[in-house]
C-alpha cells in the first residue's frame, strides 16, 4: 500500500543572537573566519567568582530590539529569544500580516535550561533583603522556563502548538525535532530554537558544581576539546531561533527551502557518564540516519558536541566511527562552538544554524583554539575548508545525560 508523502520540515529562516554576532551575517562571518570571542566575564557581580571565561553577548542592545513593555517583564534569556525570533521571521520573509491570517498555523517551541536567572536573582534579593511585598508582579512570568515561548507567541500573535523542553544541552536539538514533528502533524510554521542567559552571578554559582566546567583563566586555553589539553567547557549566553516550516507551505509562498530537518533521535546514558555516552550517541546517530533515509557515506560534515572533557571527547570520536564506520575517520568534523562557548540548550541550535550556512556556502567553519588533535578525527582547524556539502550531522550531549543527533539536508534534500 502506498503511503501519502509525509510533510517535510524545512528551515526557511535563521535568527542568531550569539557572542560572535547579533545577526546571522555577522555570526557567519565570525564563524567561518574562526574568530574566538571567548573572554573574561564582565557582567556585574561576577568578577570574584572562580569562573572567569565565557562567551558573552556584548553587542546586543535590548531596547533597540524589543519594546519596553516586553523588556520590563522578561529576563535577558527572553530578550535574546524575542530578538532572535524576529530575525528568523524576517529572514523567512514571514510578516505579521501574513501570520495574522492564520494564527493557529504558527507555533513556538524553545528549549530552556537556565531560565530567567538574572531577573530571578533580583527578585530573590527583594524578597530576602526587603520583604515579600517588594517582589514584583513579573517574577511569576520571567523566571520560569516557559517565558520565552509564551512571550514570542504573545508578541507575534502565534496560536499554534506551543511547547518548552526544559532540557540539558541536547534539548536544543530536541526542540527542533519537536518542531519538525509538529509540522509533520499539520502545523505550517514553527518558530523553534533556544536562547540562554546563564551569566548572572547566582546562576554562575549554580554552574560551579558542574565538574565538566573549565576554570582556566586564559581565553585561548579554556576550551580545547579533542586535544591533550582539554580541560572542560566554557559557558556562553545567547542562541538562535529558526523558522521550521512545511516544505509545501514554503513553496506556496515562494520562500526558499534552505535545508530540511531529515532525521533525529535522542537517547539517554546517564548524567556525566561520558564513557557510556559513546554507545548512546552512536545509537542516536544510527536512528537519525535511518529516519533520514541516509547512508553513513552521505554525511559530508559533522558538527561535534565537543565537550572538552578527555573521556567525553574520546567517547564522541569513537561514537562517530561506531555509527559511520570507516567513513567516520574520513568525514570532516568541526566544532565552531570553541570560539563562542557552550550556551547550554542554545549551543546545538547555533550549530544547526552554522551547518545550514556552511552547506549554503560550501564552506566548513573551523574549530577555534584547537590544534594538535589527539583523536582519530579529521577535525577542521585553523581555517575554513571549502567542500561540497549536501548533508550535515549535528551532535549534542547534555550534562544530565542526553545524547541527540540531527541530520540536515541542503535545500529540499533531493535531486529532483
Amino acid at each position: 500500500m502506498s503511503q501519502p508523502r509525509p510533510r517535510r520540515a524545512a528551515v526557511t529562516g535563521i535568527g542568531v543572537v550569539a557572542p560572535n554576532g547579533t545577526s546571522t551575517e555577522t555570526f557567519w562571518k565570525s564563524t567561518q573566519e574562526g574568530i574566538s570571542v571567548l573572554d573574561r566575564i564582565t557582567r556585574e557581580g561576577c568578577e570574584h567568582l572562580p569562573l572567569r571565561v565565557a562567551g558573552e553577548v556584548r553587542n546586543f542592545d535590548p531596547p533597540s530590539a524589543v519594546e519596553e513593555r516586553y523588556l520590563v517583564q522578561t529576563d535577558r534569556f527572553t530578550h535574546f529569544a524575542m530578538a532572535a525570533a524576529d530575525l528568523a521571521l524576517d529572514d523567512a520573509r514571514l510578516s505579521r500580516a501574513e501570520t495574522d491570517e492564520a494564527p493557529f498555523s504558527v507555533g513556538v517551541v524553545t528549549a530552556a535550561g537556565s531560565g530567567g536567572g538574572e531577573f530571578g536573582q533580583r527578585e530573590l534579593q527583594q524578597l530576602w533583603g526587603k520583604g515579600s511585598r517588594f517582589v514584583g508582579p513579573y517574577q511569576s512570568i520571567a523566571w520560569f522556563y516557559a517565558a520565552s515561548t509564551g512571550q514570542i507567541s504573545i508578541r507575534r500573535g502565534f496560536k499554534g502548538p506551543c511547547g518548552v523542553v526544559a532540557s540539558d544541552e541536547a534539548g536544543g536539538l530536541d526542540a527542533l525535532a519537536h518542531a519538525a514533528r509538529a509540522v509533520r502533524r499539520g502545523t505550517d510554521v514553527m518558530v523553534a530554537g533556544a536562547t540562554e542567559a546563564p551569566l548572572a552571578p547566582y546562576s554562575m554559582v549554580c554552574q560551579l558544581g558542574y565538574e565538566e566546567l573549565s576554570t582556566v583563566d586564559d581565553p585561548a586555553r579554556a576550551y580545547r576539546p579533542f586535544t591533550a589539553a582539554a580541560c572542560g567547557f566554557v559557558p556562553a549566553e545567547g542562541g538562535a531561533m529558526l523558522v521550521v516550516e512545511a516544505e509545501s507551505s514554503a513553496r506556496e509562498r515562494g520562500a526558499p527551502v534552505r535545508a530540511t530537518l531529515a532525521g533525529h533521535a535522542a537517547t539517554f546514558t546517564g548524567a556525566s557518564r561520558w564513557t557510556q555516552s559513546r554507545e548512546g550517541l552512536a545509537e542516536a546517530i544510527r536512528v537519525a540516519l535511518r529516519e533520514a533515509g541516509c547512508a553513513p557515506e552521505e554525511i559530508d560534515v559533522v558538527f561535534a558536541d565537543a565537550l572538552g572533557v578527555p573521556e567525553a571527547d574520546r567517547a564522541e570520536a569513537l561514537a562517530i566511527t561506531d555509527a559511520l564506520g570507516a567513513h567516520g575517520g574520513r568525514v570532516p568534523v568541526t566544532a565552531p562552538k570553541t570560539g563562542v562557548g557552550r550556551g547550554y540548550g542554545a549551543a546545538p541550535v547555533l550549530d544547526v544554524a552554522a551547518a545550514v550556512l556552511a552547506m549554503e556556502h560550501g564552506l566548513i567553519p573551523p574549530t577555534p583554539n584547537v590544534f594538535d588533535v589527539c583523536h582519530d578525527l579529521d577535525l577542521v582547524t585553523a581555517r575554513a575548508r571549502a567542500a561540497e556539502l549536501r548533508t550535515a550531522l549535528v551532535l549534542s550531549r547534555g550534562l544530565m545525560g542526553s545524547n541527540s543527533a540531527l541530520v540536515l539536508r541542503l535545500g529540499a534534500g533531493d535531486a529532483s
Binding site: K130, S132, Q139, I141, P161, C162, V165, G209, E283
Partner: protein, 422 residues
C-alpha cells in the same frame, strides 16, 4: 497502522494521599487537603495557605543519599515512579532500554533549593555578588531542570528519549501528551511520564501574591479552594507528583498487562493573548479540545466527564466553561465537570499529571470525583460541577484540560480500552 497507547501503571504523591488508593479515597470522599502553610513562616504573605504533602521520603524507600541529592519534587517523582512501575508489572530488565523513554513535566523545578541556597550565598539577600563558598553541593542539580527526567531515567535505566517538559501549569498534561506522541510515532514502546513540583516556598508564594492569583482565604484553609463557586477568589498552592507508565497497546497486551485506559488524544495551543490573562471566550482551549477529539476520532458528545483546570480564579473558571460549551455544545450541560484542585490545590506543573491519574482512576471506578467546597452558583459558570459529592457514572471517554501562564492551552483525552479492530 496507528500505534495505540495504553496506561498500564500509575503512581502518585499528592496532598492528603500518597499512593493511588489513598489519593482515590480522598477524591471520592470529597475531602480537602488544604491547610495553613507549615513549611515556613508565611506571615507577611497575602495567601498563607497551601495543600502540603505529609511526605517522609525514608518511609517510601529513598535512602539518605537520594534524599540529600534530590530536591523534594524529584523525590516525589521517584516515589511515584516506583509505584507506577510496580503497578504496571513491567519487568524493565527484559525491556529493550533504548525503547523506554521518559517525559516528565515541572513548572518551577528546583526553585525551592535554589531559594534556600540563595539565602546562604547572598547572606540573606544582602549581596548581588554572591559568595559561592556558601553554596551546597547539589545546587547545580537544582539549577538544571533536566535533572528531573534524568534522575528518573537513571533510576529505571531508560535509554530512549528522555525529556523534561516545562510549559508552566500545563507541564503535566503536555508531558503526558509528548509521551503519547512519542509512542504513537514509534520512537519508544514504553514511556515513563508524569510531572512533579514542590513550589511551596517563600519566593513562589510571594510572586503569586504579587499578582493576587492565590486565595487569601486564610481563616478557613480547608474550604479555601473554591473552583466555579461565585465566591472563588484565587487558587490555593499545592505540591505533588504523579507518574504514569504509557505503553504501546500491543506491547501491553502481549505481556498480559492490566490496561487502565488508553490515551486517545492530545493537543496544545497558545492563546497569544497575555502571559497570565485569559479571554472569556476560550477559543484556543476549544481548539485544543477539538484537535484532541479529532485524534481520538470522537465527537464532543462522546465525552462523559470533563476534568477541569478549575483553578478557582475568576477568569480561569469562566474561560474554560466557555471553552467546554464551545466544543461540547448542548452536551456540555449534561456532562459532569469537576476540579480536584478544590481538594489537592494547584501544584503548578504537577497538577496536570495528577489530574490525568484522577481521570484514569475515575474510568476504573466509573466514578466522577466532585468539586469540593462548591456552594454558590456563578451565573457565568453554569455547567454541572459535581458539587461536593462524588457521583457514579458510566464513563467511556474523559477529557482533562489545562491552562498555563504563557498562554498554553492543553487537552488530553483518555478512553476505556476499546476492542482492537483488525
Amino acid at each position: 497502522m496507528t500505534r495505540r497507547v495504553a496506561v498500564t501503571g500509575i503512581g502518585i504523591v499528592a496532598p492528603g494521599g500518597i499512593g493511588a488508593p489513598a489519593f482515590w479515597d480522598l477524591l471520592s470522599n470529597g475531602r480537602t487537603a488544604t491547610r495553613g502553610i507549615t513549611f515556613f513562616d508565611p506571615s507577611g504573605l497575602r495567601s498563607r495557605i497551601a495543600a502540603e504533602c505529609d511526605f517522609d521520603p525514608g518511609a517510601h524507600g529513598l535512602d539518605a543519599e537520594q534524599v540529600a541529592r534530590c530536591d523534594r519534587y524529584i523525590q516525589f517523582a521517584l516515589v511515584a515512579g516506583e509505584e507506577a512501575i510496580r503497578d504496571s508489572g513491567l519487568d524493565l530488565a527484559v525491556e529493550n532500554p533504548w525503547r523506554v523513554g521518559v517525559s516528565l513535566g515541572t513548572a518551577v523545578g528546583g526553585t525551592t533549593r535554589l531559594e534556600n541556597d540563595y539565602v546562604l550565598v547572598s547572606h540573606g539577600g544582602e549581596r548581588w555578588d554572591v559568595d559561592h563558598r556558601e553554596a551546597g553541593p547539589h545546587l547545580h542539580r537544582a539549577f538544571a531542570p533536566s535533572t528531573l527526567a534524568s534522575t528518573v531515567a537513571e533510576r529505571f535505566e531508560a535509554r530512549g528519549p528522555v525529556q523534561t517538559v516545562s510549559t508552566g501549569c500545563t507541564s503535566g498534561l503536555d508531558a503526558v501528551g509528548y509521551a503519547f506522541h512519542t509512542i504513537e510515532e514509534g520512537r519508544a514502546d514504553v514511556c515513563i511520564t508524569g510531572a512533579s513540583d514542590s513550589p511551596i516556598s517563600p519566593i513562589t508564594m510571594a510572586c503569586f501574591d504579587a499578582i493576587k492569583a492565590t486565595s487569601p482565604n486564610n481563616d478557613d484553609p480547608a474550604h479555601a479552594s473554591r473552583p466555579f463557586d461565585a465566591d472563588r477568589n484565587g487558587f490555593v498552592m499545592g505540591e505533588g507528583g504523579a507518574v504514569l507508565v504509557l505503553e504501546e497497546l500491543d506491547h501491553a497486551l502481549a505481556r498480559g498487562a492490566h490496561v487502565y485506559c488508553e490515551v486517545s488524544g492530545y493537543a496544545t495551543f497558545g492563546n497569544a493573548y497575555h502571559m497570565t490573562g485569559l479571554t472569556s471566550e476560550g477559543l484556543e482551549m476549544a481548539r485544543a479540545i477539538e484537535d484532541a477529539l479529532g485524534q481520538a476520532r470522537l465527537d464532543g458528545t462522546a465525552i462523559d466527564y470533563v476534568n477541569a483546570h478549575g483553578s478557582g480564579t475568576k477568569q480561569n473558571d469562566r474561560h474554560e466553561t466557555a471553552a467546554v460549551k464551545r466544543t461540547l455544545g448542548a452536551h456540555a450541560y449534561d456532562t459532569p465537570m469537576s476540579s480536584i484542585k478544590s481538594m489537592v490545590g494547584h501544584s503548578l506543573g504537577a497538577i496536570g499529571a495528577i489530574e490525568v491519574v484522577a481521570c484514569a482512576l475515575a474510568l476504573t471506578h466509573q466514578v466522577v470525583p466532585p468539586t469540593a467546597n462548591y456552594e454558590t452558583p456563578d451565573p457565568e459558570c453554569d455547567l454541572d460541577y459535581v458539587p461536593r459529592v462524588a457521583r457514579e457514572r458510566r464513563l467511556n471517554n474523559v477529557l482533562s484540560v489545562g491552562s498555563g501562564f504563557g498562554g498554553f492551552q492543553s487537552a488530553v483525552i483518555l478512553s476505556r480500552p476499546r476492542e482492537k479492530t483488525p
